[in-house]
Symmetry: C2
Subunit: 240 residues, 2 copies
């Protein structure tokens, strides 16, 4: 089995090292990751600018490439340049440092990479731990990676589908299939002033779950110590 790993925190992040260690148990791994942090890059692609692709590590178990591109670029570079039009059996993205549940899915570079894979008909799974800390503790989540991955591969993938896995921090009491909670961010922009008194703006925000009573959402699962397994689709057409 050939597995492509990417992420949006960059090749040196702790989360991608955990994912690599786990995925090597399933097959040969090719890592194509950004050369630095690309959080909040969503499905951004590099248009009209030069992208790099550099092999920095080669072992019998894995190859590691880095690029100046986005997570979405990573998947496109892998398919077209490394696999020469061929496709891996799985795209595994993450493990992200931070939640990609609820509306965060539309901003997530981790999931953006999965959406590119879904476009290409490749099974794809995004893994996220709800802890932004660069030194986040993945030890509770890590033993679940292989069992979840094997289970989802066995279930199969519809066209244009992928999975968005989120794990809460701390003790985990099980897994649940979920849907994306309806929620939004508030107070998203902080105004600051530089030394010359000129204003500048930084992103921040408070998340609001608009349906805290619903028991089938990713947010509910996470709040109750379950790993959330949310099937997603890149078909954004409204379904009534």
């Amino acid at each position: 089995m050939e597995i492509l790993i990417t992420n949006d925190d960059g090749y040196q992040s702790k989360g991608i090292a955990v994912l690599l260690r786990q995925m090597e148990q399933l097959g040969h791994v090719t890592v194509v990751a950004p050369d630095g942090a690309r959080s909040g890059m969503s499905n951004a692609i590099t248009v009209e600018q030069r992208m790099t692709l550099k092999l920095i590590e080669h072992t019998p178990a894995h190859d590691i490439y880095i690029t100046n591109g986005t997570p979405s670029d990573c998947v496109k570079l892998a398919i077209n340049i490394i696999y020469r039009g061929g496709k891996p059996d799985l795209v595994a993205s993450g493990i992200n440092h931070g939640s990609n549940s609820s509306v965060n899915v539309i901003y997530s570079g981790t999931m953006g990479a999965c959406f590119v894979a879904a476009e290409q008909g490749i099974p794809a799974i995004g893994y996220s731990l709800c802890d932004h800390n660069p030194d986040a503790d993945f030890s509770d989540f890590e033993p679940h990676i292989i069992p979840i991955t094997k289970d989802l591969l066995r279930r199969g993938f519809y066209r244009r589908m992928c999975y968005n896995i989120n794990a809460p921090v701390g003790e985990l009491i099980g897994r649940r299939f979920t849907r994306q909670a309806c929620g939004h961010w508030e107070n998203e922009i902080a105004e600051h002033f530089d030394q010359d008194g000129n204003p500048y703006y930084l992103l921040q925000g408070d998340y609001v779950n608009e349906e805290p009573e619903a028991i089938d959402t990713d947010e509910y699962a996470l709040a109750h110590h379950f790993i959330s397994i949310c099937p997603c689709s890149i078909d954004m057409s409204l379904k009534l």
Copy 2:
């Protein structure tokens, strides 16, 4: 009526001038647009870097602000800084130079801005003309902007919903409500070599419609000289 306009081609593009001219017929317009091209930015947001926001034009009919941020940032800056937590009655994004039909919707900065508005419960419409040319001819599409916008506002918006409008170039024989065609891009990366013989990569691609026979898709409408009106949702959960 207060209308927020943004786009991903930058405030100097021809398409945003057309949209401004039309939207001023509906109410007061606030433009918050990137200070340059942001094509393919999807829902990218600026994380941990300083954003600017500068008022460059004020008339009784409109205010124009520019920012170094993304299309998604434009909507967040407008809501939080310009409207101070209030909300416009409509977010109008575009007119994009180039198609945002089919799978392009996930890469589109034009639609990314609409998705932020949909998150915030603001009616949002993205407008795109299927011509990448900076000097594209919007004259066939322009007379349809106000009638379509009024019609969609009258119909109302579900929670998390927005519209993705695409117009083909040339003669238009009507409008159709559509769904997102299933399609993908191939041959997306071109390998080049610089003067020193080092490889670099540029994005390109050939679009493949995977369901050319389906008559209810955006691609079908566009191929048959109809304006495509595709209702979208930021709920990416798989619906079976």
